[in-house]
């Protein structure tokens, strides 16, 4: 091969290699040019997409009820911190660690609890939650980023954290996912309406309202739907069979609350009860043999209603806690 031919050959090869790279660049540009939203700014694109990410700093004691990104940075040693997370009753909460900078060896911790725990009392109770208590705590220092995304089993969760060194901290994002058949939930509001459905599942479900309320049950179905209503009680309301119970008490754990009423029969029509306790729970016990449903409304008791109990009210049990 003559030297001049070699030179030309090499030149052609180099040219082809360069052009190939340039082609890729042009392909990328073309794809970008075809983006119909390219004319819009990034903010507007995000707005059109629907949901700009909400961001704020996390406090040592905090309650989060909306999706977003939250950052905690210790300005000094923060040793006793917790954040309550709550979503709508028909939503799950997903926590995703974006950035964690803590010193696990130095005593820092970051734990997610599946539920709420207050004064040692858990919601959902141990009886109503699918996991044992120890497994409801997910410790970042144990699992690391292998469990970077954690989804709750109901609409509430908690994060406990301790950070010794100023400047350390973490960032996490909260997202909510729909829950088609919410089983355990805490109401965000002192008034509202909810339908608890347990479709052929052997589980106990609780709906908690952390206010003194008057509760009105408008519909209760224990048994099969589509006309096959079971008129007789569900094999007894003594804890056997399917039934609904109203609980009241000063704590969070339904298993430690006082049963105020048992509903063993299906009925249509409002049944009202005033419960002057710090926490009111509607709990459905299901065997899994039937589709059970209960619809109820609730509103917070006014102060004058608490002071002057009228008919069909149960307050004596909880008066001392008010």
């Amino acid at each position: 091969m003559s030297p001049s031919f070699k030179l030309q050959y090499h030149f052609v090869l180099i040219f082809l290699m360069a052009l190939r790279g340039e082609n890729r660049y042009l392909e990328l540009r073309e794809a970008t040019d075809h983006d119909p939203f390219l004319l819009f700014g990034a903010n507007l694109k995000r707005e059109l997409a629907g949901e700009p990410l909400y961001r704020r700093a996390l406090r040592c004691l905090d309650m989060l009820s909306l999706p977003g990104q939250f950052t905690f940075t210790a300005d000094r040693p923060q040793l006793h911190c917790a954040a309550f997370l709550i979503a709508e009753p028909e939503e799950f909460i997903t926590i995703h660690y974006d950035l964690v900078s803590i010193d696990c060896q130095g005593g820092d911790f970051l734990k997610v609890f599946d539920g709420w725990i207050l004064k040692g009392e858990k919601f959902p109770s141990s009886q109503d939650h699918p996991l044992p208590t120890t497994e409801r705590y997910i410790d970042f220092c144990d699992s690391g980023l292998s469990r970077r995304s954690i989804r709750s089993s109901q609409n509430v969760a908690m994060i406990f954290f301790r950070v010794h060194e100023p400047g350390n901290g973490f960032t996490f994002s909260i997202r909510t996912d729909p829950n088609l058949f919410p089983c355990n939930a805490i109401s965000q509001t002192p008034s509202g309406r909810f339908t608890l459905v347990v479709p052929h599942l052997r589980q106990n479900c609780s709906f908690s309202i952390i206010y003194p309320v008057v509760i009105k049950i408008s519909d209760l179905t224990l048994g099969h739907l589509h006309g096959l209503q079971f008129k007789n009680p569900s094999a007894g309301c003594g804890g056997i069979g399917d039934f609904v119970e109203l609980l009241g008490g000063p704590g969070l754990d339904p298993s430690k609350m006082m049963p105020l009423a048992d509903l063993c029969y299906s009925f249509h029509g409002p049944a009202q009860m005033k419960i002057g306790c710090d926490n009111t729970v509607v709990r459905m016990v299901s065997s899994g043999k039937h589709i059970n449903r209960v619809t109820f409304e609730y509103r917070q008791l006014e102060p004058y209603e608490l002071e002057n109990p009228s008919g069909n009210s149960i307050q004596e049990i909880c008066l001392s806690s008010l």
Binding site: C60, D62, L99, D103
Partner: protein
């Protein structure tokens, strides 16, 4: 001939010139997934740092009573530990049970002061024994009583927070207000976009 001589002299000069003390760059960035490596690569530096000087303007806040889970024992707050309250800047006086309308952060801080005042805070004996590992660490690093006591994470049972329902509702209502404000903001943005 002179050129190599000059070059050699220059190299010797550079080698023998005093340089500023070399310091390792402290990185605070986490190493994802690397649990073996500590998140903060300089724990020794932290222990050797002097205690943050007490700000005389800030009163000594009481710690929050932290109660252990029902299956485990009660662990009481330690006065040697920093409180959990995100206090307002030092210039703001401590006010208990404030009912005035403040910014969300100030309201949260005031709410937390109300929490501190409502909770019973029994003293933990100052001579309560620390874990042997903590004692060894403290002795090895030459720390004094100013260094905050650290529990061993592996020995720590599940925890819960001691909070009254009243305060829980306060925090919940603040969260709801924040949610509604954000929803209003989103609605306003949407209306602006639609109007364009």
């Amino acid at each position: 001939m002179r050129l190599p001589l000059l070059l050699s002299a220059g190299v010797l000069l550079v080698a023998l010139l005093p340089c500023p003390p070399c310091r390792a760059l402290l990185s605070r960035e986490p190493i994802p997934g690397a649990r073996q490596a500590p998140q903060h690569p300089q724990p020794l530096d932290f222990f050797q740092l002097p205690q943050q000087p007490q700000q005389p303007q800030q009163p000594q806040a009481r710690p929050v009573l932290l109660r252990m889970g029902e299956e485990y024992f009660l662990r009481l707050g330690n006065l040697n530990k920093s409180p959990a309250a995100p206090l307002l800047p030092a210039s703001s006086p401590v006010a208990g049970g404030s009912g005035s309308r403040l910014s969300p952060d100030e309201a949260a801080a005031n709410f937390f002061r109300a929490l501190l005042q409502q909770l019973p805070l029994p003293r933990r004996p100052l001579d309560s024994p620390a874990s042997p590992a903590e004692r060894r660490a403290e002795n090895a690093l030459g720390s004094r009583q100013e260094i905050p006591e650290r529990e061993r994470r592996s020995e720590e049972p599940p925890i819960s927070l001691d909070l009254t329902f009243h305060l829980l509702r306060e925090v919940l209502e603040m969260a709801r207000a924040e949610q509604l404000a954000q929803q209003a903001h989103s609605n306003r943005k949407l209306m602006e976009i639609i109007g364009k």
